[in-house]
Amino acid sequence: MRFMVIVKANKDSEAGVMPTEKMLTEMGKYNEELVKAGVMLAGEGLQPSSKGARVRFDGKTRTVTDGPFSETKELIAGFWLWQVRSRDEALEWLKRAPFTDGEELELRQVFEMEDFGAEFTPELREQEKRVMAEAEKNRSKS
């Protein structure tokens, strides 16, 4: 099963406050444990929303609004992608993350092909497999 672990934003992440060397060291250790256990698939930190944008679709119109976005509770600061045997396993790992004060993380299960029904026809499933294999090539070159 795959899960996305979302690190929610806060005023520090939005202000571009960089992690200390100590925090980076602890996170590096944690990430290493995740990799060694075969759990870690990916992880990224996101720059503040002041560098971002939102695109709103409404029928034919596309409206682009530049960041920053003031509702910090709606923002994310980073994420991991994990592969685990169960939701419980994901929660056990999550509880050990090196966060200490006020941080909030969200665990969300990823849709796999078997979660879809007939709308995802055999042809579409084949196409998806091909597309994802190509994406993986793009990742390894990135």
Binding site: R2, M4, A42, L46, F57, Q83, E106, V110, F111
Partner: protein, 146 residues
């Protein structure tokens, strides 16, 4: 430059309403174009927050709260990771998002990903090497699921 493209949740995604065959077709076509352009790195959909949880850390102690979470505006329904030459290029790709998604009514957020060069001295040469090793090892895992 790398960007995360976030498809924000709405009441349908939270209710577990599945995409139609037409939307799956359009989304795959869109993804395939981004892949061929060397832009798309990854992408997936997230199950409704009723299957999820939140963990809050206070004084180093974690507290778990099960979903669902009522504030839909705070939720992510899906995302992709793209690699482009500029923020403008990212926006141009996002404007081409499948128009039938969300019945023509969706909000997509674009956020720039931190890369090694964005960090300063606190990210020591040793840490950078370690990080590169971790990414490589994790990348190998994502190619061969358990």
């Amino acid at each position: 430059m790398k960007f995360m493209v976030i498809r924000k949740a709405d009441k349908d995604t939270e209710a577990g309403v599945m995409p139609t065959e037409q939307l799956v077709t359009d989304m795959l076509k869109y993804n395939e174009e981004m892949i061929k352009a060397g832009v798309m790195l990854d992408g997936m959909g997230l199950q409704p927050s009723i299957k999820g949880a939140r963990v809050r850390f206070d004084n180093g102690k974690p507290t778990v709260i099960d979903g669902p979470f009522a504030e839909t505006k705070e939720l992510v329904a899906g995302f992709s990771l793209i690699q482009v030459k500029s923020r403008e290029e990212a926006i141009e790709w996002v404007k081409r998002w499948p128009k039938i998604d969300g019945g023509g009514n969706v909000e997509i957020e674009i956020r720039q990903v931190y890369e090694a060069e964005d960090f300063g001295a606190e990210f020591t040469p040793e840490m950078r090497k370690h990080e590169a090793w971790l990414r490589d090892a994790a990348e190998k895992r994502s190619a061969t699921p358990r």
